[in-house]
């Protein structure tokens, strides 16, 4: 005679476990007793594990809690269930009751060759959660409701004394700064550095130092590789959605522009480099246009002034054209196309016949690329542009 328990466990489990131990033909009474007992033990272990979870100030039960609870119950340790990553289980395709751990497959050869960086050490970060009860507007705090309140309270206070603020970089920040510069110089861990510059919200304090370093470096160096890395990093930094680099734009924009229209850079691959940098410039202008209405206009003005100066070398012209191209079809149409009438007969064509025609062909290519954008948007413009490029435009277009 048995009591009907509110059992969660399936009786099959006992049968399977017994089979594993080599016991066959277990009687139903025995299996019922076993299942009651194991149910009780499981409840005991889980109860203890929840206790451990709560004392660890967590609200999610992890496998290490179970491990501790089992240890307290005097049970053997079960290995192979790491707790840093939550385990995912999936059904076996043809059995609904069987579950396996959904492990990602790792190619050993790739794994062995990949570089594994040790995890970051624990560090302490301090910030003001409130100053005299008011929440300061810093990335560490929730500030949605705070900003308005702050402004209101500060308006009547027109005399605010701001002392000399000296801020010192913490050891970790100094380390970060050095690592970024090292990566810039050597190219080591470039992707990690770029990811960090683009995603990290906590690097605000390092930004002025980085901006200045990039600024100096770009004007001193003439190595394409280095410049390429510098531009990518600067772009990532400027486009970091968590940061506002408005105070440093006076350093960042000239640095980036110098990459686009540099005169003395002719290493292999510089065409691609100029083009990529032009894209970055366009994106940065797009992001910060809310602070300076004329930012984009001023950059375009600079490009136009380059194109109007025939004494500049082909690579600079190329950069300027790509710079305009990067702003999109509309800008190309209003700025570049209107220039073509003057530019092609008086600047481009004479030089296409000169010694360095190869380089000027690149310039022409850039022009065609820009015009292609215009045509793509508005096919009617094709006939107007055909007079400058003839068949070439059509071929590229197709």
């Amino acid at each position: 005679m048995l009591i009907v328990f509110p059992i969660i466990m399936d009786k099959k489990i006992v049968a399977v476990a017994c089979e594993n131990l080599g016991i066959k033909n277990i009687t139903s009474d025995a299996s019922a007793t076993l299942i009651n007992d194991s149910e009780m033990r499981i409840r005991q272990v889980i109860g203890l594990a929840i206790n451990f979870m709560k004392r660890s100030h967590r609200s999610q039960l992890q496998s290490k809690d179970i491990k501790r609870a089992m240890k307290l119950c005097g049970l053997d340790n079960i290995y192979g269930f790491p707790s840093s990553v939550p385990l995912k289980y999936k059904n076996l395709p043809n059995d609904e009751d069987a579950w396996i751990i959904d492990d990602a497959e790792i190619q050993l050869s790739e794994f062995l060759t990949s570089k594994i960086s040790p995890p970051f050490d624990v560090s302490l970060h301090s910030h003001w959660l409130a100053i005299n009860g008011k929440v300061p507007n810093i990335p560490e705090n929730h500030t949605e409701n705070v900003v308005e309140e702050e402004i209101k309270e500060n308006v009547p206070n027109d005399k605010i004394l701001i002392g000399n603020v000296t801020h010192q970089l913490s050891l970790q920040q100094q380390l970060y700064y050095n690592t970024i510069l090292e990566s810039l110089q050597t190219g080591k861990k470039l992707q990690v550095a770029l990811d960090s510059l683009y995603n990290d919200s906590s690097i605000t304090q390092v930004v002025p130092y980085l901006a200045r370093s990039f600024y100096q470096l770009v004007f001193e160096s003439n190595s394409l590789e280095l410049l390429d890395r510098a531009m990518k990093m600067l772009g990532a930094l400027a486009l970091n959605p968590h940061l506002n680099l408005e105070p440093y734009l006076h350093q960042i924009i000239p640095t980036l522009l110098s990459g686009v229209v540099r005169t003395n850079l002719l290493e292999e691959g510089h065409w691609v480099f100029r083009r990529n940098t032009a894209d970055i410039v366009a994106k940065v202008c797009e992001k910060y246009i809310q602070y300076y209405d004329d930012l984009k206009a001023r950059v375009i003005q600079l490009y136009v002034s380059v194109l109007e100066d025939p004494s500049k070398p082909a690579c600079t012209h190329y950069g300027a054209i790509q710079g305009i191209n990067a702003f999109g079809a509309q800008t190309v149409k209003t700025v570049l196309v209107s220039l073509l009438g003057e530019y092609i007969p008086h600047v481009l064509e004479p030089r296409l016949r000169s010694q360095d025609s190869f380089m000027w062909n690149q310039v022409k290519g850039a022009l065609i690329e820009g015009c292609r954008k215009v045509v793509k948007e508005n096919p009617a413009a094709y006939s107007g542009l055909e007079e400058f490029f003839g068949n070439e435009l059509a071929i590229i277009e197709s």
Binding site: I3, P6, L72, P119, L124, A130, H142
Partner: protein, 559 residues
């Protein structure tokens, strides 16, 4: 079937022949039906069987006492989670057993029964009434009639009921089943947590104790007022006293309109392995206990410290000092008032004392057989207390490797321990949802507070020493008057309350919750302001002597 046999024998003995015949016919028909399909049948069968047996037994005096004793013994052996549920039936079973004994005129054994087990009855008023019933004639009273005419409704976990039934079945306590069927209405509740803590034995007396505690909040060397209860105390360090006084003299006054500045320390890259955090009195030293059994100590006045690697004997520069000694996760930490010593409690069941001057372990205290959940230094150092999974709290002095006193009485783990400002009392909060106050010197429990509906996780005495603030797992914070024994006010917050701290003048209380928020309330627990954080559960909150609020926790933002 046994039950049928009993019925037949009964009918035979009474000579009901026709009834017997017709029953036999029915039984034959019934057995043809498929009985295996109806689920709860076995239970009914037991019930019938035992019921008949119990009617037979009921005239035996011994059975009553034996039944109740077996029940009590069994409840003791049940898993903690269900113990609480099952203890709810003890009082009603006691009273019905007693009344039945009176009813059956077993007066002598009834009084023996009452003497032996009356401590297990939790309601004092009812107990008084019961005591008045000594003869079968007394059963006509309104109180008894009420008890007999109404079933006593008890909400229990489904599993607890199943446990109880299987226990009754296996130990064949027909009388118990009879009582439960007759008078109790066990209802399975979906909410597994019961709301009222359970008290046993002497606890009930303590609950109704009316003597007043001496709650003056200061420590002085010869406090004669405490007489025998005085805790001997070494000389107070004059430097420390001076330092504290000078710090307090520089404090900013806080009120609801003048809120404190709050510094939040968050541990980055802790990867969920940080288990506890403690902030020193001045707020300048921060210690954190980790799952890998190490303790890391940051000194904000010394951002870079020389750390000697004990393995290689090499010195390196680090942001923190690492204290290595425990062999399992570290669950609790406490700084001495002068911030020169640190104690830690761990899963490896030991408590260690560390010197923050030499950065080394000074003493290992072994006593608790189970993980230590909480440690706390006394208000002037020297003494400290610990609370453990083994349901006890212990008092230690730093110069003694054995505990000086063990405070035993909680029914479940002791989660938090705190000294009264005058050090003569110790408060403990437990998983059994009660707060107890102990006399430090005598080791007696002098107060039990049962106003919480969830495990008590944080405690702090008010500055006057007359009240205690307590926070629980469900996010409720209560202010309890110790001598009046009532909850004065309460506030409901989000998430488990991990830590409480009072500003120096007691006008504000900071409540750190594990649901990533810090809440400021005034002394009467009215909400003043809520400060949510970005994924930083508050592990520790601490008003410094200057009334700067320092809080801390791990930063759980994913990169």
């Amino acid at each position: 079937m046994e039950s049928e046999k009993v019925i037949f024998s009964y009918l035979k003995s009474r000579g009901y022949k026709t009834t017997e015949q017709s029953l036999k016919g029915e039984v034959k028909n019934a057995t043809k039906l498929d009985l295996s399909q109806s689920g709860p049948l076995p239970l009914c069968e037991v019930a019938m069987d035992e019921l008949f047996k119990s009617m037979h037994d009921a005239n035996n005096d011994e059975v009553y006492i034996e039944t109740f004793r077996t029940l009590l013994e069994w409840i003791e052996t049940v898993l903690d989670t269900y113990k609480e549920d099952l203890q709810k039936i003890v009082s009603p079973i006691f009273q019905y057993l007693y009344l039945h004994m009176i009813n059956r005129n077993m007066l002598e054994s009834a009084s023996v029964f009452f003497e032996e087990f009356s401590q297990y009855h939790s309601n004092k008023e009812e107990l008084k009434e019961l005591k008045g019933i000594e003869k079968p004639e007394d059963l006509d009273s309104e109180f008894v009639q009420n008890l007999f005419s109404h079933k006593c409704v008890i909400l229990m976990n489904k599993y607890s009921i199943a446990l109880l039934m299987s226990f009754i079945e296996s130990s064949r306590l027909g009388l118990l089943l009879f009582i439960i069927n007759q008078h109790l209405d066990l209802q399975a509740s979906t909410d597994s947590q019961s709301s009222v803590p359970v008290l046993l034995g002497d606890d009930v007396a303590i609950l109704h104790d009316t003597s007043n505690l001496i709650l003056i909040p200061v420590i002085e060397k010869d406090m004669k007022i405490f007489k025998d209860l005085r805790v001997p105390f070494p000389a107070v360090d004059p430097d420390l006293q001076e330092k504290v006084n000078s710090e307090i003299s520089q404090k900013t006054d806080l009120s609801e309109n003048n809120l404190p500045s709050i510094i939040c320390h968050s541990a980055l890259n802790s990867n969920n392995s940080m288990l506890c955090l403690e902030i020193s009195v001045e707020g300048t030293v921060i210690a954190a206990g980790f799952e890998d059994s190490s303790i890391r100590v940051w000194n904000l006045l010394r951002p870079v410290q020389v750390w000697k690697n004990s393995m290689t004997n090499e010195e390196e520069l680090r942001e923190y000092i690492q204290l290595i000694g425990h062999s399992e996760a570290v669950f609790c930490l406490s700084f001495s008032p002068n911030t020169q010593l640190l104690i830690s409690g761990s899963e490896d069941c030991t408590i260690r004392l560390w010197s923050l001057i030499s950065n080394s372990c000074l003493v290992v205290y072994r006593h608790h057989p189970f993980p230590v959940w909480s440690v706390t230094f006394g208000p002037m150092g020297h003494y400290f207390a610990s609370g453990s999974f083994d349901t006890t709290a212990a008092l230690w002095s730093t110069d003694n490797i054995e505990p000086l006193k063990i405070y035993s009485g909680h029914l479940s783990d002791v989660i938090v321990v705190k000294f009264h400002p005058n050090i003569h009392y110790l408060a403990t909060g437990s998983n059994d949802k009660t707060i107890r106050i102990w006399e430090v010197a005598s080791g007696n429990c002098v107060r039990i507070f049962i106003s919480h509906a969830a495990a008590v996780t944080a405690l702090i005495f008010s500055k006057s020493g007359k009240e205690i603030y307590s926070g629980d797992e469900s996010g409720e914070v209560q202010k309890i008057d110790i001598n009046e024994k009532n909850c004065i006010s309460k506030i409901k917050l989000q998430g488990r309350i991990s830590s409480l701290s009072l500003s120096q003048e007691g006008s504000l209380i900071a409540c750190g919750s594990e649901s990533n928020a810090l809440t400021l309330a005034n002394g009467d627990l009215n909400l003043v302001k809520n400060y949510p954080t970005k994924k930083i559960p508050m592990f520790a909150v601490n008003f410094t002597l200057r009334n700067l609020l320092v809080v801390g926790g791990p930063c759980l933002l994913e990169n």
